[in-house]
C-alpha cells in the first residue's frame, strides 16, 4: 500500500530530525568540531613542513561573531523561502475562495 503524500512528508521530517539528533547521542563524548578543522590537522601530519601562504582577509572577532554571521546567512535563506511559501499558500487559498464563490 502506498502511503499518502502527507504521511510521507511527516515521515521525512521525522527522519531528518532523527538523523540530526541521533549522532549527538551515538557519538556521545565526541568533540563535534568542524570537518574542515580536522582536514587542516590531517594536512599538518601528512606535510608537517607546510605553512599556509595566505591568511583570511577578514576573520570574525570571536566565535560569537562568527555564529552571528552564520545565523545571518541562514536567516537570509530561510526568509526568502518563508516568503515564497507564504505567498504560495495565500495564492492557493485565494484561488480556492474565488472558485467557491464562482460556483455558489
Amino acid at each position: 500500500m502506498r502511503l499518502k503524500i502527507k504521511a510521507r512528508t511527516w515521515l521525512a521530517w521525522i527522519a531528518i530530525v532523527l538523523l540530526t539528533v541521533l549522532p549527538l547521542w551515538l557519538a556521545g563524548g565526541a568533540a563535534f568540531g568542524g570537518a574542515d578543522d580536522l582536514a587542516r590537522e590531517a594536512i599538518g601530519t601528512i606535510a608537517p613542513g607546510y605553512a599556509p601562504w595566505f591568511s583570511p582577509v577578514f576573520e570574525p572577532a570571536s566565535g560569537e561573531i562568527a555564529s552571528l554571521l552564520f545565523a545571518l546567512q541562514a536567516a537570509l535563506g530561510a526568509g526568502v523561502i518563508g516568503y515564497w511559501l507564504g505567498l504560495s499558500v495565500g495564492r492557493e487559498r485565494a484561488r480556492a475562495a474565488a472558485g467557491k464563490s464562482d460556483a455558489g
Partner: protein, 226 residues
C-alpha cells in the same frame, strides 16, 4: 568541504581557479538565458539560491563525532540545470570566504569546483539516470540531491589528496584519510539533504503550476501519485 585559506599550494590554487572561472562564465550565461526566456521563474530561482544559502550555513553533527554542512545546490540543479548553480555557489562561497574566514580566496576556485560544479552536475546526472530507469520522481530527486552532496565531499577529499600525497602511501593513502574525514561524516547529512530536497520539490509541484514547466525535474513524468 571548505579547504581553508592558504591550504592549497599556489599551483593548485591557480589551476582550480582557472577551471572554475570557465564554469562560472558558462554558468552566468546559462542562468541569464533561462531567466530571460522565463522571467516568471525569477522567484523560483531566488528560492533555489536561498535553499543553498540556508543549507550551507547549517553545520550539523554527524555519527563520526564531527560537524559538517549540506550544500543545497542539488535542488537548483534540478530546477534550472546544473550550470545555473555555479554562480549561486560562487556567491555563497564568497560570502563565507570574505566574512566568515570559512574557506578562502586562494581556495575559492577549488571550493567552487567541488560544491558548485561537481555537486550540481552529479545531482543532475543522477536524476536523469534515475528517471530513465523509471524511478518515481521523489526517489530520483532523493538520489540526485544525496549523491550530489556526497560527490562534493569526495571531490574535496581528492583535491586535498592530490595536493598532499602521503609521504609513504602516496595519494591513495591521503585520499583514504581525507575521505574518512569528509565523505564519512557527510553520509547522514547527505541523506537529510536528499529528504529536504524532496520536500521542497513536492511543495513546488503543488503550488506552482505554470513556472515549473521549464524545470528539468518536472519534465519527468514518473509514477508520482499525489
Amino acid at each position: 568541504m571548505h579547504i581553508m585559506e592558504g591550504f592549497l599550494p599556489p599551483a593548485h590554487a591557480l589551476g582550480w581557479s582557472a577551471v572554475s572561472a570557465c564554469f562560472l562564465a558558462a554558468g552566468l550565461r546559462a542562468m541569464a538565458r533561462d531567466l530571460r526566456q522565463h522571467p516568471e521563474r525569477r522567484m523560483l530561482f531566488g528560492v533555489a539560491a536561498a535553499f543553498a544559502f540556508l543549507l550551507s550555513a547549517l553545520k550539523l553533527p554527524s555519527v563520526t563525532g564531527s560537524c559538517s554542512h549540506p550544500t543545497g545546490v542539488g535542488l537548483g540543479a534540478l530546477l534550472f540545470g546544473p550550470a545555473a548553480m555555479v554562480p549561486v555557489g560562487f556567491v555563497v562561497l564568497l560570502f563565507q570566504a570574505l566574512l566568515l574566514a570559512h574557506g578562502g580566496v586562494t581556495t575559492l576556485g577549488a571550493n567552487i569546483f567541488s560544491m558548485a560544479v561537481v555537486g550540481p552536475f552529479v545531482a543532475y546526472g543522477v536524476f536523469r539516470a534515475a528517471a530513465a530507469l523509471g524511478m518515481s520522481r521523489s526517489a530520483a530527486v532523493f538520489a540526485a540531491a544525496c549523491l550530489g552532496d556526497l560527490a562534493t565531499y569526495a571531490t574535496t577529499s581528492l583535491q586535498l589528496a592530490w595536493a598532499f600525497p602521503d609521504p609513504v602511501g602516496g595519494m591513495a593513502a591521503s585520499l583514504a584519510r581525507f575521505a574518512g574525514i569528509f565523505a564519512l561524516t557527510q553520509v547522514p547529512i547527505a541523506i537529510s539533504e536528499g529528504l529536504l530536497t524532496v520536500l521542497v520539490v513536492n511543495a513546488i509541484a503543488r503550488f506552482h503550476g505554470h513556472e515549473q514547466q521549464a524545470a528539468p525535474v518536472f519534465a519527468h513524468r514518473g509514477r508520482e501519485r499525489t
